[in-house]
Symmetry: C2
DNA sequence: GGTAAAATGCACTTCCATTGCAAGGTGTTA
DNA sequence: TAACACCTTGCAATGGAAGTGCATTTTACC
């Protein structure tokens, strides 16, 4: 029934009111959010709590961090069964230069990237910048 | 003879002692550098001057900015005849998780990336993280 | 040399990320 | 249920990097 509780419990994270609220907030958003976004959505809560909640989610593969080049870290819920840490599962991110929103393109996996001899690839970050579908219409 | 002077002049940038020094510093480095790196190399100079010098270089396509995901902006000299702004000329960057250094892989161009219908790609940032050749030996 | 424009240096600000510590909750076990 | 350990939350403070305003110095040009 209460899916979110189950998800948290499956990761051995305590279910708290704050965590449920933040999880719901992330789930309803279709774009990556900054800590400030969360802060604005929960003005009663302390910034530190929100920060540490997100960090807890991140450490437990509930959210992944996105560096879209704006200089501000963004976060988005992982897909269910996603394996963020596996290189072949990495999707690309799109940042709109017009509306400034960043989205996960979860079904656009990052192609295999060749690196020179001697280099070992462990992880790839691919961000495309441009105009999103809402803004290009 | 004095190549650097020529480069600066060709971009209509005044030749100053500071700019020559910083250009030389960047040229001798084979890795991308942070503002702090430059700061440490020129302790007599003011941080703001170094900052604005780099910005001037950047605006005139003498250096390009690199966001390798560490959260600290890095800079590297552009290749001669490079067209940083042209999407097809973009090369990938490699960040070593061991020595923390970031390098331009200038002859590894970024492949064409497909984006969903309605999205327009203007720019791509591709950073591979892993172990560099010096560290993997 | 004199002048205007550009570069430099200093002080200050802003913004985001991160930490220490104390207080409040929760769950567990005797 | 009472005590306890452990986790979570809130508040205050810090740190690092980026950026700005303004006065002073330097440069290019006449
Ligand atoms: Mn994503
Ligand atoms: Mn580069
Ligand atoms: Zn948009
Ligand atoms: Zn290395």
């Amino acid at each position: 029934m209460n899916k979110i509780e189950n998800i948290l419990e499956s990761k051995n994270i305590r279910v708290t009111a704050m965590r449920l609220l933040i999880y719901k907030f992330l789930a309803q958003k279709e774009i990556a959010v900054t800590l400030s976004d969360i802060e604005n959505a929960f003005e009663k809560a302390d910034r530190t709590t929100l920060y540490r909640t997100i960090k807890t989610f991140e450490e437990n593969d509930i959210v992944h961090q996105i560096d879209d080049g704006t200089g501000i870290t963004k976060y988005a819920l992982c897909e269910k069964d996603c394996n963020c840490e596996i290189e072949t599962d990495l999707h690309l991110h799109f940042h709109c230069n017009n509306c400034n929103e960043t989205v996960c393109l979860t079904d656009h996996k990052i192609p295999q990237i060749k690196v020179p001899d001697g280099y070992i690839s462990e992880n790839v970050n691919l961000v495309v910048k441009g105009i999103c579908d809402k803004c290009s219409g």
